[in-house]
């Protein structure tokens, strides 16, 4: 029997497994598997932060040990590469927001890569909420800096004559709202697609191994060999997914920082 015959059916089951199903309560009021893992990720993040603070206070000025140094490396990366590099003088004001976004998404993504866990960010609802927070934040920053009218005016480039000016303004407003969509969809699609690909190779590996369990024959042994090949690909994709988890957290916060910088900039 060809193991690939069962693939479409298994794929359907796999993709169905990714839709939100309530763990507690129902879909209107309740906790889906994604929010459940999001709470787990938040608990891990809080534990890391509190242990880090205690260890750091104990250790004095010089950081000691892998844990404290590792967390400091991440915080410094966030401070130097994300905040100072992009925001310039006002980085101190925006650092809490940027760092919160970065660590929340990073921990959620990394928790999602662990087999058996789901990423809190692998659900369009979570990423849309994150994108909305970022959207509101950069608009509030812009309005505080320039006032409501000033911010609306600053969307159109200065030094462009009247009819073009209005057209560019409309496009800019539209693209501001597009940022909301792209931020949410990018993060969601990366996590979702990555997990579907991981799941596909896991399904393939198990389908090709099944004949060997039913009875030993030359064909079954050959298919088990193919199964090993699928597992090898699975491991490679797993490594790529770990990378994607970090890069997507970076990209999301980087874009948030860029939008804040654009909202603050005097000349558009």
């Amino acid at each position: 029997m060809n193991p690939l015959d069962k693939l479409p059916e298994e794929m359907e089951e796999l993709v169905d497994g990714f839709s939100s199903t309530p763990v507690v309560g129902d879909l209107s009021v309740g906790v889906t598997q994604y929010s459940y893992w999001m709470f787990v990720a938040i608990a891990i993040l809080l534990a890391v932060i509190f242990v880090f603070r205690r260890r750091q206070a104990e250790g004095g000025l010089v950081p000691e040990g892998r844990f404290v140094n590792g967390v400091e490396l991440l915080v410094e990366f966030c401070r130097d590469d994300l905040c100072k590099a992009l925001l310039g003088d006002t980085w101190r004001e925006h650092f809490p927001f940027i760092a919160t976004m970065f660590f929340f998404i990073l921990v959620n993504n990394v928790v999602g890569v662990i087999p058996g866990c789901k990423p809190g960010t692998g659900c369009i609802g979570t990423t849309a909420a994150l994108a909305l927070v970022s959207f509101v934040y950069f608009i509030v920053v812009g309005v505080r800096r320039k006032g409501v009218v000033g911010y609306l005016k600053s969307l159109a480039p200065a030094g462009v004559s009247f009819p073009m000016n209005a057209l560019v303004w409309v496009i800019e407003v539209f693209s501001s709202f597009l940022r909301l969509v792209t931020l949410a969809v990018r993060l969601f699609c990366n996590l979702f697609a990555g997990h579907v690909v991981l799941g596909t190779f896991a399904v393939l590996a198990s389908l090709f191994f099944e004949p060997l369990l039913e009875g030993v024959s030359a064909v079954a042994v050959g298919q088990a060999g193919a199964s090993l090949f699928w597992v090898a690909i699975l491991l490679v994709i797993y490594a790529v997914e770990l990378l994607v988890a970090a890069i997507q957290a970076y990209v999301f916060t980087l874009l948030s920082a860029v939008y804040v910088q654009l909202a603050e900039a005097d000349e558009h």
Partner: protein, 63 residues
């Protein structure tokens, strides 16, 4: 059908990402000191391009 459409769509993303990598590599070879700043921009550009391919992937799965 979905697979064919997705593979057609991915051609564009592949070309885009290879152009970005090409540009980043040539400028790094010419001016190694811009490596740090180029890396950020490259990752950013790749993320934009990659998102298009991924949206195609998800749409193929859903439809």
């Amino acid at each position: 059908m979905g697979a064919i459409g997705y593979s057609l769509g991915v051609i564009g993303a592949a070309l885009g990402i290879s152009l970005a990598a090409y540009g980043a590599m040539t400028s790094m070879a010419r001016q190694p000191e811009v490596q740090g700043r180029l890396f950020t921009v490259f990752i950013l550009a790749s993320a934009f391009i990659e998102a298009l391919a991924l949206i195609g992937f998800v749409v193929t799965l859903i439809s």
